[in-house]
């Protein structure tokens, strides 16, 4: 079923009265997800956003709680304020990435209220990629440019209308406001078929990477891989699945707040202990950690590779350290036999 963009826009604007809507907006230098009030602000034709939408579920800087000491009494307040949200225009890679973040923040053992309150109160309207960037490789990561996995409603842009698919109950509830759906024409159906069968031109082979990495912790492969890395966090901050953080206190006299901020395993001080010991003070250890975490540990712990092939790390890396080349390198690395 399809809906004209005009009708969709009206429904979108009506939703904005009750929901915070996060949608792609054009900015100097690219497209980014921002809060919008109207469909007219939404950027239509673009490859993908510069930064992933993860900051709406997992903000870069967040006050977890505040405290104040008055005499002998301490009052503690949690700062969480959650608005019902619609995350609009989320691409298959970013939608899948949210499912991966769920495994970390919202599972049987740990439920992070700062994450899952936002997650449970947001509806994901996903959108297929009509154009595919040469640095995307999602087809190799278990999804595709038109995968609806992780979306509550899934749209395909047909030009002056959207094909609309309801994926979950949450999406169905939101759809109730959409009127005047119609059937697709033969041409439009053909366009949908083309988009649905599209694959990224860039591919990597991750079929056996987890098993290979099981045996590679001490491999000399890691000795030279890391050398050109600058140890910044450009890749981790632009990655939709990266989720490491630091918690610190900001205290002034008798009051303060506990703050969570993004951190990244590429930074040298990420693993600095209070004792002064740093198990990953060498870049070699940090790059090994990046690959192992995404392609091995996360698979063992959570059943999935923590990379969705969005290509942002490739584009943002100042030294062009390409994770696809690293994957190839791992696959081709000779196993050292004891």
């Amino acid at each position: 079923m399809k809906i004209s963009k005009e009708k969709f826009g009206q429904a979108f604007d009506a939703l904005a009265a009750d929901y915070q809507i996060i949608a792609p907006v054009s900015e100097a230098g690219g497209v980014n997800y921002l809060a919008v009030k109207s469909f007219s602000e939404v950027k239509q034709d673009y490859l993908n956003s510069k930064l992933p939408p993860k900051s709406f579920l997992f903000p870069q800087h967040e006050k977890l709680l505040t405290y104040k000491k008055e005499g002998k009494d301490v009052t503690v307040k949690t700062e969480l304020q959650v608005e019902k949200s619609v995350l609009f225009g989320i691409r298959p890679c970013d939608a899948k990435a949210m499912l991966l973040l769920d495994k970390v923040f919202k599972n049987d053992e740990y439920r992070d209220p700062y994450y899952y309150e936002r997650r449970d109160n947001s509806v994901v309207i996903g959108q297929a990629c009509n154009k595919i960037s040469p640095s995307c490789f999602c087809s190799s990561m278990g999804i595709s440019p038109a995968s609806s996995e992780g979306s509550d409603i899934f749209l395909i842009d047909l030009g002056d209308s959207y094909q609309v698919e309801v994926i979950t109950e949450k999406g169905k509830a939101l759809m109730a406001g959409l009127q005047e759906l119609s059937e697709l024409s033969a041409d439009e159906q053909a366009l949908v078929d083309t988009i649905k069968s599209a694959q990224t031109s860039s591919k990597v082979d991750v079929a056996t990477i987890t098993a290979k990495l099981d045996k590679m912790f001490d491999s000399p492969f890691w000795d030279s891989l890391h050398e050109k890395c600058l140890s910044c966090n450009a890749c981790t901050f632009s990655c939709p699945t990266c989720h490491c953080f630091d918690i610190s206190e900001e205290v002034h006299k008798n009051e303060g707040s506990r703050v969570r901020t993004w951190d990244g395993c590429m930074a040298p001080l990420f693993t600095l202990h209070g004792s002064g010991h740093n198990p990953r003070d060498k870049k070699k250890a940090r790059w090994r950690q990046r690959m192992m975490h995404k392609f091995n540990y996360f698979v063992h712990n959570n059943g999935d590779i923590a990379c969705v092939g969005c290509g942002r790390c490739i584009k943002s890396c100042p030294v062009n350290l390409d994770i696809r080349q690293v994957i190839d390198g791992v696959n081709n690395a000779e196993l050292v036999v004891d």
Binding site: Q60, T66, H252, E255
Partner: protein, 150 residues
């Protein structure tokens, strides 16, 4: 509720070198030369000790103005501390203005241990200028606990 708004009294962080400016401030006190109670003094051994981050942090913490004062060039207790500081201060002053910090928020002076009267004049002048600018407009000010962009 008091309907009269209290006149704005700025909070000015004053970094004073131990040997000259701090002594000069002390002399002002001893000699009862009045100056506005707007400065919060921080004694440093030498103006050359001033790390530009001190000024930025003072403003990030809400200071409405900053005063940095040392010995006159040629009279530094450590011989060359204030010569090095002079170059630093020129560049800090220039950069802060360049990023749009209002002229007069950050001030620099050379005040000797004998210049008690002058110290009071400097503080009066700085206070006047900062008061006219109004409270810290937030070029560097960080809200409690830091924040995020909209």
């Amino acid at each position: 509720m008091n309907t009269e708004t209290k006149a704005f009294e700025p909070k000015i962080a004053a970094f004073l070198c131990n040997w000259c400016s701090y002594a000069g401030a002390d002399l002002a006190g001893v000699g009862r030369f009045q100056y506005p109670a707007t400065i919060r003094t921080i004694r440093v051994p030498c103006s050359g000790r001033i790390n530009p981050l001190y000024l930025l942090k003072a403003m990030a913490n809400g200071a409405d103005g900053v005063l940095v004062s040392g010995c006159h060039p040629g009279d530094c207790h450590y011989m060359s501390g204030n010569y090095v500081a002079r170059r630093k201060f020129a560049l800090i002053d220039s950069l802060l203005k360049h990023v749009g910090l209002e002229e007069g928020r950050v001030s620099f002076s050379w005040v000797s241990a004998a210049e008690g009267v002058r110290f009071a004049e400097v503080v009066k002048g700085v206070t006047e200028r900062v008061t006219a600018l109004g409270p810290n407009k937030g070029v560097f000010k960080v809200e409690d606990g830091g924040g995020t962009n909209e």
